[in-house]
Symmetry: C2
């Protein structure tokens, strides 16, 4: 039969990273796409130990239906953990466990946005947010990133101009640019949110992955009246395929998000939640991060050196202090988008930068992930890129 | 600050079962609400064994990002498994792994329905479907269940009258009534779907939980041209908190659902998928079901006997051949809804039947779950109910 799909999906193509994912099963492919943690950082032994313990100690709890809001010990432990970023004074009524940080974003859009609403995002921003926005038929508008990730003057101007329902910001090692907000910018974002009474989503999956410089308090830590919703994830600090994240927000928001979560997946996998709880309460999450950081730092340095050595002069790039990405730009306008298919044919993958821009610009940019490839693959992959872009 | 929530959630209260869930932490409470498998049927030892093996054999695959469409070995095994219900001739492009069967329903609504659209549901139907429908601002219309779960004449009449986007049917041990469609009804539903070119969601979480009578082929097994979308779950056959289900549909539908799934949760937890795969490929899923059936049969019989012994004469009920529920009705119009608070105060919980009716009727009905309470609790709980309803 011929189907008539809903308007929201009729012309919707897949999320670029997810679509690239499918070609990565090719063993020859070197991928700088995705945002995958290094394979050697994935703590399989500990996951095995903790899940074995949990299924022995509390078998029914692990397998029976549980609360939509989340496994209570995890809500409590996670709230203690985010004191690291200055988030204090909240109770479990302010905490919702989500099936990965991305579900937190999706539930926020579901809770707040009508079809046609505007949301403000960094330009460029995390491309999945643009994809989620399309599924709600929203209009994302980009504001300038400035030096540290948010040009606060442009943010204020765009709020006045567009009256957005939500503002979405990645504060640390922003995806894709790797930029990190200065302390003053964080405070100023809260001031602006209060002045215009707008809700800010602070999405912080990368904050703990810092291998240079100092940790900074979250935007949420300066929030006095429920203007900031903090979302974090364990995809980059424990393992992505466990799909466990946290949302901290005013309890009226958490309540609405939980009612939406009842509909979409009933609850997050309890065993995954309990394993994450054990990582947090034993401190293993931090020991794991401490072991990962030198690995990421080294990989970043190898990629930076290879880019400087092999890529053409017109290619400029960021030097990240954390996170998983280097952001590159061709100053002569060379299109990374146009070369993408050729790159795949030559067995190297990246994400074409235009996918991160709300306004569709950025053809001359690319996001390079350095965490998943081996040092040898990084060297070889950058050589392959260089061969394509120096022709 | 004062929030302006989206219209879809502004007046949305929680799913009745999920809300009841929160009071069940009271140790004195005997719950006939929920649809929880018996605790002794939850296979914690096998989940521990399989997850340990999988994390040893294939640690990176278990923890790294995986495909949105699902863990390939599970898509293959699950497709073989549904040959049990006559679903044959499909490839992995027709299979989407979902985070519980409920996500399959949610993604179908997201893929097909606009705000204001009508969908047809059994009257009464699974209450979560009414809840999901509210989050998309749909108008569910009930058709008569007749003797076996679908009055096909009324279904056809309602399709002509309302031109629904989707029809939702639970074919086996329907929630809440426990009714099972006869073979002729299944064939007739496909005929009607073809005649009016409408898509039918066949939601089958309970089909394997049959302790009397014969298994029947699925509605989907009679589908020739993509009119039926089959959804099943392992919540009742393995464990609910693993959140693993399957959707089988035309590949154009699967593609749209997968693009939506990219947005909502990226992927289902890989370890949970791989554990389920092992249950299926080793045959342990069927051995577990075979062990569970006598337990469910006995509990059902204990509840039926207690209801006949203690409840007032005006209370009539179904005698199920499978599934987890008994459906009761007060022929004198006594309101189960009105007595619900009193029941909770007296430490017994059920689901008031009106929550299952698209038209809000059914105050004089109730759904009783017998699978989760112990035999002693069933006896005691029914006595408590009787004390309330014979006053």
């Amino acid at each position: 039969m011929e189907y008539t799909f809903a308007e929201r999906v009729r012309n919707l193509s897949g999320n670029a990273i997810r679509e690239i994912f499918k070609v990565l099963s090719d063993k020859e492919m070197i991928s700088f796409a995705g945002g995958m943690p290094a394979a050697q950082c994935l703590p399989a032994e500990k996951v095995k130990q903790y899940s074995g313990e949990l299924l022995t100690e509390n078998p029914v709890k692990m397998l029976q239906y549980g609360e939509t809001e989340g496994y209570m010990p995890l809500r409590e432990s996670f709230l203690r953990y985010v004191k690291n970023v200055g988030i204090e004074g909240y109770t479990v009524d302010n905490a919702l466990i989500v099936s990965g940080g991305q579900q937190g974003i999706d539930l926020m859009f579901k809770t707040f946005c009508e079809k046609g609403d505007k949301i403000l995002v960094q330009n460029p921003t995390y491309l999945a947010v643009l994809h989620i926005a399309r599924t709600y038929q929203l209009n994302p508008v980009g504001f300038d990133c400035g030096e540290d990730g948010v040009d606060v003057d442009d943010l204020e101007k765009k709020i006045k101009e567009h009256r957005p329902k939500l503002v979405y910001v990645v504060p640390n090692f922003s995806n894709p640019t790797g930029k990190t907000l200065r302390l003053e910018t964080r405070k100023k974002i809260v001031e602006i949110a209060e002045k215009y009474d707008v809700v800010v989503i602070e999405d912080d999956p990368y904050g703990r992955i810092r291998y240079a410089g100092e940790h900074l308090p979250s935007i949420k830590s300066f929030d006095k009246d429920g203007h900031v919703v903090y979302i974090t994830s364990t995809s980059k600090t424990i393992a992505p395929a466990l799909r466990v994240g946290l949302t901290v927000a005013d309890e009226r928001i958490i309540r609405k998000m939980a009612i939406c979560k009842q509909a979409v997946d009933v609850q997050t996998v309890t065993l995954a939640q309990a394993v994450v709880e054990r990582f947090i309460s034993t401190g293993e999450i931090d020991r794991g991060i401490a072991r990962s950081l030198p690995i990421y730092k080294e990989k970043a340095e190898i990629m930076l050196a290879a880019l400087d050595k092999y890529m053409p002069e017109s290619f400029v790039h960021t030097v990240p202090e954390g996170g998983l990405f280097i952001w590159g730009e061709f100053t002569d306008g060379t299109s990374a988008k146009a070369k993408f298919r050729e790159a795949l044919d030559n067995k190297v993958a990246y994400v074409s930068g235009n996918d991160f821009f709300a306004d569709g610009s950025g053809d001359n940019t690319m996001r390079l992930n350095f965490s998943n490839a081996t040092p040898e693959q990084i060297e070889t992959g950058v050589k392959r890129l260089s061969a394509i872009f120096t022709k």
